[in-house]
Amino acid sequence: MSLVFPNEMAANSTNTALARGAYWFGLVFLAATFVSIALIADARSAPGVAALLAPLALIAAAGTVAVTPLATRTVVIVAVALLTLAGNTLYTGILLPRLDGAAPSDMVLLTLPKIAIVMTGVVIGRFRSGVASIVVAYVIAEAPVVVFYLVRADAPSLGVALTAFTAVLLLVRVMLIVTRKRSRASQPAMSRAGEAERAATLSLRRERDCSARVQDAVLDELAAVGASTPGLLGAPARERILSSLQLATVPAAGAPALDFDGGLQVAELRGDVAAALTGARELGLAVSVNGDVGPLELLDADVSRALGLAVAHCLGNVHRHSGTRDVEVSVLTTESEVCVMVIDSGVGFTESKIGADHGGGLRTAVRAPLDAVGGRVQV
């Protein structure tokens, strides 16, 4: 997963979110207007409330169409604009003669729908030029009022609240483009670093697997050849060399299911730990298994692989260094942990006292893989 949200998606997602927010803002204002008008008309016994419902509903419907994916089409945008203009003209024409011009409070009932109309411009702006859409919406909101006053030969005046609100929206629109560019300048570098690290993690995992197999297979083989007497190299020895080469160079596949006889093993053991036990038996070790081995099958692939590598290396060390053939593998499980113990009665060692060259196996094949999957190792 990338560290940060890509820049190329940020603009679109923000615009969509802004459009949805603007739609609900306008809808609440339209609802507030309608309820207020209904209450006033009821109190003043003024007829014609129903006449105001229709234009308000028309403005709300136009806004609803604007927020849907239909509004990507120019013909739909034009239809929305015309519907909104028609609704606003109707609303203004019905309401203005009924308002008391001396009571500025009444003009609130005009301002709220006009703000809702400008918000429809913000909604449309996510598909078209945001600035132009807001300006056109402002004109649609104010034009009917201005025309009404001109027809009455009164001096028209633009709504201060609406004009200020629209100016702020335009400023927000412009600021969004400028600030987003500045704030997100570091995103490409962070994303590249995250992707490079994920690729490196995959490579590291493969390298660890390979290193562990090198430890167990190839070093064993080189040691065997180095300890041999010069002379004939029999077929079994050559097959063993080939088998070690295959282990070291081919990615580990899932191990086959195996049956174990003897000991307290009652379940069929599968997977990476089973493969390690099989390998140990082929080396000539007498492996007895006890405990609750069932949960070993429930481990996820990474943990199972790391555990298998670690057990294989521990059994290899028993074979190489302990001086004994008998080894016990005990599995203990709790609700949250699986513990695998490799126990032998050989010569023993102290990890801190072995040199770096000889302790590399414990680091690379036991501690490192288990650390990587959140495990712990105790020697």
């Binding site: 997963m1 560290l3 949200f5 998606m9 997602s13 969509t16 979110a17 927010g21 609900w24 803002f25 809808l27 609440v28 207020s36 209450l39 009571a103 500025p104 409070s105 009444d106 927000v172 987003r180 704030s183 997100r184 300048a185 570091s186 570098a189 962070m190 670093a193 995250g194 490079a196 690290e197 690729a199 490196a200 995959l202 490579s203 590291l204 290193s211 090198v214 070093l219 083989e221 080189l222 050849v225 180095g226 041999s228 007497t229 010069p230 004939l232 190299l233 050559r238 060399i241 080939l242 070690s244 080469l245 070291a248 770096a356 060259d357 302790g359 590399g360 690379t364 650390d371 959140g374």
Partner: protein, 379 residues
């Protein structure tokens, strides 16, 4: 609303988007405070208690100041308690400004406190979940409406009392609806992106091995294995005799391979990133891919950024009291805007690491990134 949607915020999912949004939080705070002071001065003739009015203004200033402070990327994330504090101050301003004009308030539409709170609410969408914004604003709106209705006897407009409540509460409700819709839309988009990105990353892990990145060198022991050991053992597997030269060669290959394995295991990802890095406990291996990717991006930024001196850069991994931490120290160039350039990285770091602390002392920047080896869910 789904539980997943209800617990996430846009800032947490897209920290760089939070930096963009902060410009608008600052703008909203400035507008709210300027509007409050301007309207308070212009309607001072309606104020009976100047002391209460001044305290109300101070509370609104406090709301704006805390809002700006809490949205800083250096203090991310904006928490619920910060949201509640902003609203507590804002509602306090509403109550006290109403009390300051009790009995002498003639016009409801020039009451500044509810509109100032609405201005702040409008920009909350990036910081808190949608349901929380609606809940806080819904409770505040009821209070605002109740205060307006209870003052209705003094208003000059002749409309039913509930209309005053609706007109006063509408801006706050509309802003909350807008911010909530914005938050839900953005969080939904970000969660979808994360789901897709995570699925793609999982497919990469499960699929065939990805090609190694160009700048990721293979460990030297694997190169030695491929170049020397595998050809040697392959040759042996085809022979029927073993010479004393080959026996000797096998011993030398084993010694050299063990030496290279030990050296490669001592190399950590961190020492490759920054040769002077100090990681005595090999803690770099406990970091996950996102944490390593971030440290890579941060070190690269500090090396190439215009505000920092590359020569003094140090990276240290060590155990803290409870958790391991990565401490990056770099000298800052005098007069350079180190804090501004650092902001996006601190914002992202807070979503990647368990804890992030930073300080600038004596011209030196120190960043402490604490990582959680047990992978607890991040804030």
């Amino acid at each position: 609303m789904s539980a997943r949607l209800g617990s996430h915020t846009a800032q947490q999912l897209d920290p760089l988007g939070g930096i963009t949004a902060r410009y608008f939080a600052i703008g909203a705070a400035v507008c709210a405070i300027a509007f409050s002071i301007g309207m308070s001065v212009s309607t001072f003739d309606q104020v009976d208690s100047p002391a209460l009015e001044i305290v109300a203004l101070l509370l609104m200033v406090g709301a704006g100041a805390h809002y700006v402070r809490a949205t800083s990327p250096f203090r991310a994330p904006f928490r619920r308690v910060d949201h509640v504090l902003v609203y507590t101050f804002g509602v306090g301003a509403v109550v006290l400004s109403a009390a300051a004009q009790w009995g002498s308030n003639l016009v409801v539409r020039d009451d500044w406190a509810p509109i100032a709170l609405a201005i702040l609410t409008f920009t909350l969408g990036s910081w808190r979940p949608g349901w929380e914004i609606l809940l806080c604003a819904g409770i505040a709106s009821l209070l605002v409406a109740a205060i307006a209705i209870s003052q209705a006897g003094t208003f000059s407009a002749d409309v039913p009392y509930p209309v005053f409540g609706i007109i006063t509460a509408a801006p706050l409700l509309a802003s909350a609806a807008a911010a909530s819709a914005f938050s839900n839309s953005l969080v939904r988009t970000l969660l979808s992106w994360r789901t897709v990105a995570t699925a793609e990353a999982t497919m990469v892990v499960a699929g065939p091995p990805a090609p190694l990145p160009g700048d990721h060198p293979q460990p030297r022991h694997l190169d030695y294995l491929d170049a020397q050991v595998v050809p040697f053992l392959t040759g042996l597997s085809l022979q029927e005799a073993l010479s004393d030269v080959e026996v000797d060669q096998a011993r030398r290959f084993a010694d050299e391979l063990q030496r290279l394995i030990a050296e490669d295991s001592a190399q950590s990802w961190l020492s490759q990133l920054e040769p002077t890095a100090y990681d005595p406990l090999k803690l770099a291996g406990l970091m996950d891919a996102d944490e390593r990717g971030f440290v890579s991006a941060l070190v690269d930024h500090l090396r190439t950024g215009t505000a920092y001196s590359r020569e003094g850069l140090t990276v240290t991994l060590d155990m803290g009291e409870r958790w391991p931490s990565c401490v990056v120290v770099v000298p800052c160039l005098p007069g350079a805007k180190a804090r501004v350039q650092l902001a996006p990285y601190i914002a992202v770091a807070r979503t990647v690491f368990q804890a992030v602390d930073w300080q600038m002392v004596g011209g030196q920047l120190e960043i402490c990134l604490t990582f959680d080896v047990f992978r607890q869910p991040k804030n």
